[in-house]
Amino acid sequence: MTLLTIKDLQFSYSERGDFTLSVPRFELNQGERVALIGPNGAGKTTLLQIISLLQRPDKGNILYDGGEIKSRADILNYHRSTAFVPQRPSLYNRSVQDNVAIGLKIRNISPDEISERVDGMLKALKIGHLANRNALSISGGEARRVMLARALVLNPKILFLDEPFADLDEPVRRSIIEDTLPILSGSGCATVFVTHNQDETYQLASRFMVLIKGRIIQSGTAYEIFGNPASKEVAEFIGIRNIIPAEITGNDNDMLRLSLSDSIHFLYSGAKPDTNKVLCLIPPESITIATDPPQLHSSARNTLQGTIKKVIPSRYMVWLEIDCNGVHLTASVTHQSVRELGLSAGKPISVLIKATAIQLLPLT
């Protein structure tokens, strides 16, 4: 069921002409979790503020539960049905407990129920011990938890979260992402959230919207966005590290032949784009590394020879920067592969790229 519909939205900050937010249409359904992603300054916070009716757009209609929001009463009703966690924690100069209770107090809930719900929420976010502390003298992550508690305790119909996990520690972040929010969605709550942490978005979002320079450039599932970025900007933003200019130089068994350089040719199994000059996107995770002698994997049809330039270990995987005869590629592999294959800088390797993982964008 569609909870929220936005039509023909237009907004710009009055003093400046260089930023315009423009969203022709946006719909939000019950239980959905929509990730709003995009570079810094793209307008994510602005959009979130507008659709949570905290910033008046220059133009546009907002429909909630099928009815257009017009009167003061509509707005109040909307605010009471939703909850908003801003990018920067903003707490009242009161106790943590009072900060969490305030939305319920505004809704005239009985004191007993308030204290029960608040206590429960504080425990859930592991800040029970802070209940009586002044909210202005707690740590950054504690403050973020209080902000989340204040919103979650309201059982909203729509939850707007602007970078809600930024300074949370790993265990609490995980419990919110893996338990709290899915439970909420299960009960019908729609969530729109902004984050720059791709793991978070990936795990949490049922739909993505990529906002760049005030415009929604692409929207879809994780698979669509990360597997098929709509433009070079999107590809760069989501960290498809290998964006290589190439040319279509021929055909080979239903497949296109891509030339990245005089000596490097790929096979590509997708549709032929309009132009021959293209950008070739290769997601780092779709690159498989093999040590000599090249051991051909079934699904990886393109094999290149290269040398590891740099090994950058990360928490759950390892980045490899590889030089294949002048073409620079970045691959992501597991720690295990690094250990087992003995990957290290300077080592010659084979790079295997699945033809289906490559994506082309017309070069404009």
């Binding site: 503020q49 605010h79 009242y92 100069n93 505004i106």
Partner: protein, 215 residues
Amino acid sequence: MNEIFDIVRTSLEVSGLSLIIAGVIGIPLGVIVGLSRFRGRKWLIALVNTGMGLPPVLVGLVVVMMMGRSGPLGFLGLLYSRTAMVIAQTIIALPLVTAFTIAGIQKIDPELIRQTVSLGATRLQFFRIIIQEARLTILVALMAGFGSIISEVGAVMMVGGNIRGETTVLTTGILQSTRMGMFNQALILGGVLLAISFIVNLALTLIQQKRTDHY
């Protein structure tokens, strides 16, 4: 001694009541002006700030002219009474209280104001929460207002008439003592006035600073 006590009581009653009225009007007014964006807002703020420089003598003069027998409000027969003094002092304190409430409100993080709206506060709830949040500045505003009227002499003299046992307050008492050449008595009354002011301010400051130290 007894007379001094009476004078102190009059001072406190008149200035206290004026401060309460000025607070009841000025604080919500300050919140509204501080938070809303409307045409002419800057002018209104300038007007309020100017009000801080409203010469008490002029306020006195206008009140006298309004409430005097031949004035439009003359039929009330309130000139030279405590009521008239309260009116004049309220007029003097109001711009101060309003201006500093505005300043205090404008200091509140806009994010917190947005948060309050997003929590679904009605207008009244919104006011309550914001005022509570700005309570420290509002306390300063009230202190400033109290300071200005408890120590003000021009207007109370003009509209109260410094009638002994009735409208004599500490400041008019000081002035009168001075005029009578009784400098020592003037100093005593001044000391009492300062003592009151200090006690009130110390109490408020302790409350205020206790809370900000948390920050």
